[in-house]
């Protein structure tokens, strides 16, 4: 490096990037040979450095591929985590979970981030106090981009999961928090049929968590039909009913039942609790500064002459933003968004804080307040196991994660290209 800097500076008057062309211009000077050599050496250094990163990436990919290729089966894509049969364990619920969380993240972070960038770039204030506020916000956004994601995880925990306990706490055995819609409350009581057959009794008083059935009562079956629930008292001496149909509609006297909330997919309550909605919103906090900064850079790259021309034609600020700045900046904004989403799908730390370390789940989310498994958390768990099978699974899951990431990126790049042409 020292030798390079000791040579006469020739970068200023020779064309950049083409070391050979620079040499041609300087054949007459006496040190041309040396300069030519340095130029060539620098070129080789650049090639070496870029090749090095590619080699490191290649080694990583090959080693992961070597370790995980045997597990890249349809089982991996279709099944869920299995403790008893590691050989047929899979990651389908985590793929769905990651996509859902990234969806929430994109839906909230991208409009918010791009909107903020437009406001900061296109609607710059003129008065002094507002200018100070503007630069204060700008400074904060730049700093926030460097904050570790686990800090956002902790923020998301109190902001989305608990909402500072303003709406009450989510507790077991209580219909807690502020439930908005998509839920009906029942008691679940075991019937005489056995084998886990239960009946539901509509819950009138939500503060009463358990019920003890002593007298015939209105109940509903799984199709929503109401019927009268019969009681069988073992002490009365009457034999237990033998007809399975009757048994299904009868419970033992004094049988207790606990509260059960039946939820629709749009079930919503405040606070969000440990749900994928909270996780997605937390991730959107993580990537928001990145999206804002990238969008700002993109908007800054739009030549002022375009805007001035638009204003000159009598367009309003909104029309200029809508028809000139934003379309011109969109490819850059999309690039920032792709990078940000790539980071979001690979984040494990904030998800661990917000959702906990659950890995065994058989499906994607059933409602908005449902917990999910995500790919980074599953990989984290598998990689920490002692059994060799899970080590291989972790490697295979990393390949799948990369594939999903590439798929998402290629869709976004396709969109970007399409917009550039159109």
């Amino acid at each position: 490096m020292a030798t390079v800097s000791s040579t006469p500076v020739d970068g200023g008057n020779s064309p950049h990037g083409t070391g050979f062309a620079a040499g041609e211009y300087s054949v007459t000077t006496d040190n041309s040979k040396r300069r030519k050599l340095y130029s060539r050496l620098f070129y080789l250094l650049c090639v070496f450095i870029s090749a090095l990163s590619v080699v490191v990436l290649g080694v990583l990919l090959v080693s992961i591929g070597w370790q995980g290729h045997s597990r890249l089966t349809s089982d991996l894509l279709q099944n869920s985590h299995s403790e008893l049969n590691p050989d047929s364990a899979g990651m389908w619920p985590s793929i769905v979970g990651s996509i859902f969380i990234c969806g929430i993240c994109a839906l909230s972070a991208l409009p918010l981030g791009v909107g903020t960038a437009i406001f900061l770039e296109e609607f710059k204030p003129t008065s002094k106090p507002l200018k100070m506020l503007h630069s204060f916000i700008q400074l904060n956004i730049s700093n926030l981009a460097g904050v570790p994601s686990i800090v956002y995880g902790l923020l998301g925990l109190s902001l989305f999961v608990f909402m500072f306990n303003v709406f009450g706490r989510i507790q077991v055995n209580e219909s807690s928090g502020t439930e908005l819609f998509g839920v009906s409350h029942y008691y679940q009581v075991l019937s005489l049929a056995g084998g886990g057959h239960t009946v539901l009794i509509p819950q009138d008083d939500e503060s009463q968590a358990t019920i003890s059935v002593d007298a015939p009562i209105q109940a509903v079956d799984r199709d929503g039909k109401k019927f009268e629930l019969a009681i069988w008292d073992p002490k009365s001496g009457t034999p237990k009913p033998s007809d399975p149909e009757v048994r299904q509609r009868t419970v033992r006297k004094g049988q207790v039942g606990g509260a059960y909330s039946e939820t629709e997919w749009y079930y919503l309550r405040l606070p969000f609790g440990k749900s994928f909605l909270a996780a997605g919103l937390t991730l959107s906090l993580v990537i928001l500064p990145i999206v804002i900064i990238a969008s700002q850079e993109a908007l800054r790259g739009v030549p002022p002459s375009l805007r001035e021309a638009s204003f000159g034609l009598g367009a309003t600020k909104w029309q200029t933003v809508r028809n000139v700045s934003l379309p011109a900046a969109l490819p850059g904004i999309m690039t920032g968004a792709i990078l940000a989403m790539g980071r979001a799908i690979g984040e494990a730390a904030p998800i661990l804080v917000v959702l906990g370390a659950a890995v065994a789940k058989n499906s994607g989310p059933q409602n908005l307040m449902d917990n999910v498994v995500t790919m980074p958390v599953l990989i984290f768990n598998w990689a920490g196991r002692q059994q060799a099978a899970y080590q291989e699974l972790a490697a295979a899951a990393i390949i799948v994660l990369l594939a999903v990431l590439l798929l998402m990126n290629s869709v976004a790049i396709y969109l970007r290209q399409k917009m550039r042409v159109g």
């Binding site: 989510i170 009581v189 509260a259 890995v359 499906s363």
Partner: protein, 352 residues
Amino acid sequence: MKFTSFALTCAIALVAVSTGCDKSSTTTDGGADSAAPVAESTLVGTIKIDGSSTVQPISNAIREGFIQEHPNVDINVSGNGTGNGFKSFYDKGTDISDASRPIKAGEFEKCKENGVEFVELPVAYDGLTIVVNPQNDWVKELTVDQLKSMFVGDDAVKNWSDVDPSWPEEAIQIYAPGTGSGTYDYFHEVLAKKSGKELRGDMNLNEDDNILVKGVADNKFSIGFFGVAYYAENKDKLRAVPIVNPKDETAYEPTTENIASNKYAPFSRPLFIYVNTESLNRAEVQTFVQYFLANTPEVSEKVGYVRLPESVMAKAQSNLDAVSVGTHFVDESGEGRSGALTDLYKDENLVK
């Protein structure tokens, strides 16, 4: 124009995602149908479990069997650690708390303050075996202090002769589970945590137990450690070292009986689940916990732990049936009790 095409492509992407969602529900339905044709269980509900990551595999495995029979019950098993698990347990955030140690007096106090009553159920033993090569004819038994000198700190001894002058003057080769494993943590906890030190850094670490077994089996001067269930499978290639119990100064082999009687100390510990009694009123939790106790001996052996003695399991079952609340490991004055599970898990020790 540009924006309409953008919106259109976005819509297509959204549809693609939502069809993915549909697929998830159909696959699970299909899986449930084929897996559980026997009982027409209509049990529904959500059970929340959090706590020790050591117990998590047992809970996950039990859950796996349970949902074969009751496919509509949603069981969330998290492994955020015993302490964190107890915290959400006394905040009424979970129905069941997995624990790799008994509840502490402070946590018990918090439960009382918050009106959380629980049934304490031991589910398995976790044992840790120290193994040497079968050709190793000099190590008859090891004390905790000898183990400390061999394993703790970067100034740990290099040769066997440094531990005992009568032993060969050969370098000690150590094969140990990776730092991410619970076994490593546990070993560290027993030997090094009190003195605030770390285990020595020059061990051959591997997450794959097979490699540890092979390493010790192929090298006369090696020593290693891992879960006892793994030693049981490789008895022909390895020799387990009896460990001198610091209390009665006698060396004990890591047999199932010695682990169960806590004679194999300090390398055996019981694992627990704590069940909120209010949750026990719920049909799904009740059925699940019954299933848990009935199946935990087989299942915990399958995932690498030692089953509890019949007597302890019977006591646990009767405690669950009678809903006997309280802990056996904190005494009336609020001090923690220590000792063997078989000695402490008795009615007279139950503190509400």
